[in-house]
């Protein structure tokens, strides 16, 4: 593994820059990954429509969750001005609903920006629906430089490339002396593959237990920290 880390001045920008397989990667505390060489912003597990899906089933999820997730995404787009936005699977939680209508409208602000979707297990809309929202579909993966973006890492067949996945909504528990515990969403960079945190705030966390040489970057309320 050829990872090394730059600390210090970047911290005020709430992000961390690492080098991975020769490419520079920026880990943003808004649960996003930016590849400056390719001007590509990658997020995973957006789960758009999840709150509306819950609401239509009579579960009182705040309606503003989806709007808030899109606002966060807007800020990231303004910050990095990417050419491409890659969604690494589970972009839409269920079927079409009002959250998706809102997304469609929001999407029209960024007509210059290419939207790429690597399909995940939740992404079951009709191809025409994706096309109408100008989202390019890639299945099962999207390869770029040394990386293979795929929703579920074990399914990757590109043996030469380093898979960057999502799907599991990784979280890490930091255990201190005197039995103290704190749990955060995280980026995972292992020997075999990497996992991105879930972008949506309306998602739970799956605890991962790092092996030696695995790199974990916890996303605390204000920063990205290597643990």
């Amino acid at each position: 593994m050829n990872l090394h880390f730059l600390y210090g001045k970047f911290n005020i920008f709430k992000l961390m820059t690492i080098t991975c397989h020769g490419d520079e990667l920026i880990l943003d505390k808004e649960r996003a990954l930016y590849l400056p060489q390719h001007q590509l912003l990658a997020i995973s597990d957006l789960h758009l429509g999840k709150s509306a899906h819950f609401r239509s089933a009579g579960v009182q999820v705040p309606a503003t969750i989806a709007q808030n997730d899109l606002q966060r995404l807007s800020l990231l787009i303004e910050k990095y001005k990417p050419k491409t936005l890659l969604i690494n699977g589970d972009m839409f939680h269920h079927g079409l609903n009002t959250d998706i209508d809102e997304f469609s409208e929001w999407r029209n602000q960024y007509l210059q920006l290419q939207f790429l979707l690597v399909k995940g297990n939740h992404d079951r809309l009709a191809n025409a629906d994706y096309a109408s929202m100008q989202i390019d579909i890639h299945e099962p993966s999207y390869c770029l430089g040394p990386f293979c973006f795929i929703h579920d890492a074990p399914k990757c067949t590109e043996e030469e490339l380093y898979p960057i996945s999502g799907h599991i909504h990784p979280g890490v528990t930091i255990v201190g002396k005197a039995k103290q515990r704190l749990k955060f969403p995280c980026f995972y960079f292992g020997k075999e593959y990497a996992v991105l945190p879930a972008f949506s705030t309306f998602t739970g966390l799956y605890n991962i237990y790092p092996k030696t040489n695995d790199q974990i970057f916890a996303i605390t309320p204000n920063n990205v920290i290597k643990v």
């Binding site: 089933a57 808030n68 005197a178 103290q180 704190l182 739970g204």
Partner: protein, 825 residues
Amino acid sequence: MDQTKTKGYKKIKQWLKANGRKPFKFQEDAWQNYLNGYSGLVNAPTGFGKTFSLFLAVTIEALNASEINNKKAKDRLQLIWITPLRSLAKDLARAMRETLTELELDWHVGVRNGDTSQAEKVQQKKSMPEILLITPESLHLLLAQKGSSTLFKNLKCIVADEWHELLGSKRGVLVELAISRIKGLQKVEKKQFLRVWGISATIGNIEEALDVLEPNLDAKRIIVKADLEKKILIKSVLPDDIDTLPWAGHLGLKLAYKLLPIIEKSKTTLIFINTRGQSEMWYQHLLNIEPELAGRIAIHHGSIDFELRNWIEDALHTGQLKAVIATSSLDLGVDFKPVDTVVQVGSPKGVARFLQRAGRSGHSPHEVSKIYFLPTHALELVEAAAIKEAAKTNNIESREPFIMVFDTLVQYLVTLAIGDGFDDKIIYEEIKNTNAFKLILPEEWTWVMQFITSGGDSLSAYNEFKKVTKDEDGLWKVKSRQLAMRHRLHIGTIVSDAMLKVKFLSGGYIGMVEEYFVTRLKAGDNFRLAGRVLEFIHVKDMTVIVRVSKQHNAISPSWNGGRLPLSSNLGAVLRKKYNEALDKTHQDEELDCVYPLFLLQEKRSHVPRNDELLIELINNKEGFHLFAYPFEGRLVHEVLAALVAYRLSKLLPISFSIAMNDYGFELLSEIEIPMDESIAYEVFSPKNLTKDITLSINSTEMARRKFRDIACISGLVFQGYPGKYVANKHLQSSAGLFFNVFSDYDKHNLLLRQAYDEVFYQQLEEPRLAAALERIQNSIVVITNPKSFTPLSFPIKVDSLRENMSSEELEQRIARMKAESEKIK
């Protein structure tokens, strides 16, 4: 009307006389008051016929009426008898049926609860019985049925049996709400002859218990108290040598052999164990040390299959069993005549519970109840001495009724909406007249209505929310059948983890285990349930398939029952007992027995007297420990620990992890904890209490934990029921996640506020905390520095319930924790 002149009364007297019986005065009082239109509360010791004080009252009135029966199916229901436990209903129904037959009153008695078959429920819907025995949950399920609002036209009486049990829980609120609705329905019919009665054991706040049941202070209300006393014999099972008892523990198997002679010389013994998991272990252990007991003892708890429990209860009645190991599932009023001895293993944590369990033996009037206390660790012997004293002085706890539980209100309104629908103005008036919601503000009501109709958000332009909608007839209803079905499965306020049924490969159900326990099993693994060792095969259709194992030993599932805290009454007596232990001014054999342990405590540190607060500071490789012993019960200690941690952290940046038990609490830090006498008085001060509590619990997980139940009760999270319902994957989420999103996006959510309120009022018990701090201010602070753990501190150390509390910046804290963990590597 003087009842003695009525023909009903005469008939009852005659019947009793023919059976060689004569009513107690309190029974006659209850009959007379009922006849005069009173609602009220009957308070009498167990075994003196509390049931007959009300059941016969209704019967007398029926016998008095010239035209006895109204045959129209819907008009039949006369008496609703609410019981907290399913097992109670069966025996009550049997007794009532026998009586009615002998009195030649052509009434039917129906039972309706979670164990009632679907066929029977359908039959009841067609034709209601005159007397319906029901649990609070099933009563709400009844209200959730279409057409249910016409069932209560001729209802004369609602009885809440074991009301003291229901009172201090959200189930009590279910009862309050159901009563308010039934009263409301009768009001519409202009038939208001409903009387509401409770049956209660002695509790500290019996007047309040009546206020909750009948909140209208202008109504005819009365408490009928029996002037009778139940004799109770309490004896501790003492070890021959105190060293055989561990310093900490919950199991107590070391003394099991001492039970054998007790079981042998008794007719039937009930052995109460505090948790289901431990009861399985006890069952196995008793069989191991005395194989002769095979086939003569049984195990009874809430996770054992209904049929099996039924069989055990029948065998108890007929005296076939020598002993039954039970949990709280056999706590309440079932009368098993052959039971002449009760054993309590481990602390019962409260006087009322202990006396209730004692009352399971010697059930008939004037018989002596006999109970043995078997300690699971050495210090519990002191508790035994304290309980004996509290029982002697009748120092019995209060049960605090729940108020402003919005989760239960939300559930209730949806229940009504899937039934015949409701008018919000009428229901608002009804609930305002209940004790639980008399303080509800109009804006809170508006929020609740908005929550179920528009999803708690009226501003969003995109609103897909669908649940309760207004029908053409102006009533609020749930239209979706799917939603209605899901809601029905979740009616009730007892929240447990998802349970799976356990079934033999060859057929036959054994009981239930929690889902998370099953996820840890591999095929071929063995576990214990209902006293048998079972081999896990696989899970199929939400059912755990097993076969009988050839192994003799296996793990027991741990069911996540709540652990009860020590009551404040018992805490006070306990402190007094600590006083007496060293100077030997007592007559308790338990204290003599535990004396060597007190000597050791005195040698290593100090034995606190009841005008002292002991603080022990211990430093070892784990870190710096501070132990304090206020003897106020686990819940109060939890808050007190957080409060003290917060106040200490104002002196310097410091992080703690917290542990506690019923005797005291521990603060553990990696840096030295500042402590001397003046600091102690400062951090244990009642000054700025409310403010400091708010700040100290702010950063803890207490509210989040409370929210788990709230999310289930209010229908945000679906638990699913064994074999009944597979949750839709796309609708799965956790209570914790809801807690997060409400905290981030919906701060005014009343369910969120309720979580904090529950923490504040139940968990914190602020008045109790304030009183404890006042007491500590007037106490002498004794600080010691023991070299190793003491008999008092060790049990807390062993306890694993932990909280975190920190005043450091999060980033700073993580950095430090990281640095540490790297050091360890």
